[in-house]
Amino acid sequence: MAGLRDIKRRIVSVKSTQKITRAMKMVAASKLRRSQEAIVRARPYAFEMRQLVNSIALRADDATHPLLRKGDGGKIGVVVVTSDRGLCGGFNANVVNGLMRTINERFAERELDITVVGRKGVDLLKRRALNVRATFIGIHDGPIMRAAAHIIDDIVEDFKNGGTDEVYCVYNEFKSAVQQSVTVERLLPFAPENDPTANAAAADDAAGASEEAPLIVDYWYEPNQEAILERLLVRNIRIQMHRILFESAASEHGARMTAMDAATRNAGEVISRLTLQYNRARQDAITKELIEVVSGAEAL
């Protein structure tokens, strides 16, 4: 049996670990609240804008703007969003697993061009044989909007020049404080992905358009289509990237809070087990001492 001293030392050590995990949990909880507010505020605008862009993509010819061009099986760009810091449970591993699964299931034959956001993602992907083109670390230290533009602008440029034919983003979507889900979202081109109305419209065109079908009329653009699309599409992709960074940040704090809560509870269990063990050992020592005294007295 471990000596009294050893057990005592372990109890002290686990207790100090528990203090740290508890403090981290509390910090994560307060950061979570702030980032949760931020994502809830950021979403409506981003969603409305995405809908607008989808609805434009549905109407406009893909040739009207380079960001609407549908690819033909060329390179695929992937943006992987992870955190800079660890101790947040499966947060980063989940993203990386999601990335690997997507690659295996959907892009096994395609050439990839990967952009990694977050130190942990960089570390986790280093060992894998992937074509990582750019990495971004410490984006949450400055204004997020600038970071989003910084990350996405090169990718957009590359897409415009035909370097990539599609761009996806893998990130943790914020569901609630205790739930994050890895999401694979297509950033470019803006054509609606498997949109049923798009197929219906195509079918209608082929069949000479039935009367009940909602007529899809192109917008009247002012001042002109090119100018609006250029501004709107570039703005949209930045806004989407911005939203994704917020999603990921809120998810990270949520994941860390959950992980640290579990760790704190686990430490509590270890402490009570060790305390029990300590008390037993102490009791044994006392009993042994008594027996020695008694048997010593008897021997006299």
Partner: protein
């Protein structure tokens, strides 16, 4: 009249949506102010800083200061994606006036490092806020 209303949605980054049922809405488009009523043709335009005036189903007028962005018009729906917007009632008029003075000063005595385009936009934004607050429209 019931089905003749339009659904107006105002939206800006980092801000809650505002949704109103309206008879008509006035927007500061890049090529001029335009009014939208039920049944408008699908229309997409960029906005300049100015006042958005929404007349709701009860005939009440809601003023908003919007600072540029986009407007998407459908027969039954108008979506205003502003870079930022503010209800006229919430505008701090003193601050808006101070902002206008600053912008005017910068424009009247431009220094070499003054970004004239930015100063001009700031002036437009300040004027939009003042107008929205005083409910003068345009």
């Amino acid at each position: 009249m019931d089905e003749q209303t339009i659904n107006v949605v105002l939206c800006a980054p980092e801000k809650e949506k505002t949704e109103l049922e309206a008879q008509e809405v006035l927007c500061p488009g890049e090529d001029g102010i335009f009014t939208v009523r039920y049944g408008h043709t699908p229309y997409l335009t960029t906005l300049i800083p100015g006042v958005v005036l929404v007349k709701d189903t009860k005939g009440e007028e809601h003023y908003f200061a919007a600072s540029g962005g986009f407007a998407e018009v459908h027969p039954e729906k108008t979506l205003i994606l502003a870079d930022s917007y503010e209800a006229g009632d919430n505008v701090d008029e003193e601050r808006a006036k101070a902002a206008r003075e600053r912008a005017e000063l910068r424009l009247s005595k431009p220094e070499p490092e003054t970004d004239l385009g930015r100063a001009e936009l700031a002036l437009y934004r300040a004027v939009a806020r003042i107008n929205a607050a005083s409910k003068t429209g345009h």
